[in-house]
Each structure stands twice: as C-alpha cells, then as structure tokens.
Subunit: 249 residues, 2 copies
Amino acid sequence: MGALTARPLAGLPEITAGADLATLILDAGPAPADDEIVVVAHKAISKAEARIRALDSIVPSPRAHELAAANDKDPRHVQAILDESAELLRADHGVLIARTPHGFVCANAGVDESNTPGDGLLILLPRDPDRSARALRARLRELSGRSPAVLISDSFGRAWRLGQLDTALGCAGLVPLDDWRGRHDRRGRELRASVIAVADAVTAAADLTREKDSGEPVVIVAGLGQHVQADDGPGAAALIRPIAEDLFN
Amino acid sequence: MGALTARPLAGLPEITAGADLATLILDAGPAPADDEIVVVAHKAISKAEARIRALDSIVPSPRAHELAAANDKDPRHVQAILDESAELLRADHGVLIARTPHGFVCANAGVDESNTPGDGLLILLPRDPDRSARALRARLRELSGRSPAVLISDSFGRAWRLGQLDTALGCAGLVPLDDWRGRHDRRGRELRASVIAVADAVTAAADLTREKDSGEPVVIVAGLGQHVQADDGPGAAALIRPIAEDLFN
C-alpha cells in the first residue's frame, strides 16, 4: 500500500441550480485520474439539483409547532425536517434525529440552514445521492475520458461520540466496504469481523483538508486505486445497516 | 488549507511486551516532524504494555457461559469481555456491545482474538490510551527533539452504518475536536452545529493506507499542522459523549 493524499480543489464558483458540476470541476484543475476519487460536499450537489426550500413557503403543522417549541427551533425548519424524514428517532436536547427515506440516520434529516445560497433558505439532501454520484461520474467520463470514483458527503454526528465526521451519502466507482471476513491475519487466523467502511473513511479524510467556510466543496483523493473500479458498484446505500440488524433504533 | 498525506511506516518489527515503540519508530524511518501525526494501531501499544490475556487462564462465570451460548462465542472470551466492560449495552446477533471503563462503546469491549502474538491469546485495549499517547509523544521528543502529535486507534463499528472506522482511543498534541460553533459561514450566518471530530477523521484516514494483515501498525499523517499543538491537550477522552447527553444508550 502506498501513501494517500487529499487536496481541496480551489477556484470553483458558487454552485447554482442546474450547474454542470463536471464542467466546473474540469475547469478548476487537471482532470481527476481513473484511480482518483472526487469527493463532493452534498451541498454542491443539492444546489445544482435545486434541492432548496424557502422558509417563507413552508406552513408548519401542529406537530412541527410542538416539536419546535420543545426544541427551540423555527417551526418551518422543523416542518421541512419532518417532510424529509421517514421516521423521527429522537427529539431531545434540541436535536432532532431522523431516519431519512434513503435510510440515513442523522440530525435534522440533513436539512441545513448554513452555507445556503441566501437568507431564509434551507438545503435538503439530494433525493438519490447514489444516482447523483453516478451521473457526475458519467459526465466526468464524457467530458474528460477519465472515470474517477465519485463520493458525495455530509457531516453526520455519531451515537456515543462527540463531533461530526463526513460520511458517504453517494458513491460511484469506489468499493464502499472492504470486506476482510474470511481472510486471515498474519498468523493464519481468520479475521472474524473486519469490514472497513472505505467510503466513509475517504469522506472523513477529505473533510480534513477544507475549512467549513472555505467554499471548497470538492476534494480530490489519490492513492486508493485498489478500491476504485470501472463498475459504479453498489453505491453508498451498501453502507446503511438494515433496520432489522440495527441494535440502536 | 493544503494537502493531507498519510503513509504507512514499513519495517517495524513485531512488537513485544516492554518494547520501546518510540525507538522502533525512529529506527524505521526519518523522525516525524513537529507538525505531523503518528497514528498507532492500539494493538502495538497493547502488546508493548502487555495488555494480553491467555484464554487458558480464564475461568468463565455462569453469566459468561450463558452469553457465550446465546451468541456463539468462547465463554472464556466472553468472560474477558465482561472483565473489560463497565456496562454491556447489547448482546444480540452474536455481537456484544459494551461500554468500557474508558467510556468507549464498541464490540466486545475491544477484546480481540486476531493479530495476537500467539494462539489462545486475547489483546485488550490499553488501560489509559491518552496516557499511552502522551508517553509515546514524550519519548519521541526525548529521542528526536521533535514533538509530533500521537494518536492511538482501534476499528469501531457504528450504529446505523455497516463497516468499521478506525477511531481515536488516545490522543496527545492534536486538537481532538475542531469547534466551529459561533463562527460563521460565508454569508455571515452562524454555524450552529459544526464540531469536527478531527482525531477520528485522522485515524480513519490513516487506516486506509494499511492492509489489515500488513503488520504496519504505524502511519504518519502530514498536512494538518494547524491542528497540532505543543500542549498535549485534552486527549481522546474529549471525544466521548457524556452518558447524560447520549440519546442512544
């Protein structure tokens, strides 16, 4: 195994609805190589896909009013969170933890008020981040002839640990889970439970290279060619633990 | 912000009880710089600290027998897990999720059968990984005159997501949490909930550069000098969510 490197892509303009992200990425620097990974903060994707709501347009339900009052939030923001949730798992400490229709468990169902394109706007998660990743990869290939892997990330909190880690919402061309089960350690003993969440480790690594206020949504990661493949693969959906196997609902 | 790089340190010998890890690290390559981070898989630390138990020496309690039968495990292994646990949170699907005396929530209380120095041996977590990290950092400084940050890692599973991420058990000289709360986004709006788990992101990144069977427990991470400080800081203990604030006990 060799060295891993991650570098933020400078010089991207503000992303607007309908933006062709692949063109913007290729205009901002050399084309990412076939064995590299293009990690994109989901907000850039959501802006390009117009996954944005105006607070003014939202009429909160009685339940949204109730949750907002109990958790010191704007009832319109809470309504947007409920609209983006399949299930609300916890509402406590001013935090709403939801399971989204994709299956992600995260604060506020990923509905965010910061780094929006304007006041009074909320950014939602992409509707199908794996599809968004595949589309961006296909467009990069079409324009540059190269097929880097693509990851789409968001900052998620964790049970039991403080702080957030950038986590893979969408994935194309990267093996999301590196499964060592059935392989053996150096003494020949089977490794019983070693499945490495490669995609989540890459998004976490990429996030270290950018400041939260930098406006640099794209990071290029190199040195992990062994996990990049021509096939788009199962996507980040493969990282979601099935509800039936989840011990911490 | 610049590029991040991570490279595994080749050429370390098998670690044995009482080993001087700092000397072994400095013998294996150039001395890590003041703004670099030395990430050490906890097994190397546990071996040096003789945090190892022989299965043969363990007499399982009735409870260990019961849990072992229900979860298809060796009752002596289960007894070691119970001995290393402050609280057993879940026992299901053949998985024991424990809270350790340190406050870590992880499978099997971190007690591991793979990559052990011999058959019939179990590796335990270091007793005080933050102290171990500070001691290694001090010894590196004593020998080389340089004070890289030190992280000690283990692979932890996650609630809701499949696969494991290397997570920080011990930390010296790195800011474990980068707190952006109160700072502002590009439009001047306050970032309400952005605390980045820097130490966990670094351990996750480092793990990408090594194979699980490589015998390369040490990875050197560069490019994050802004998070490395002369003071050892609060350690990885700062990453543990207080039980009272934990919504997923």
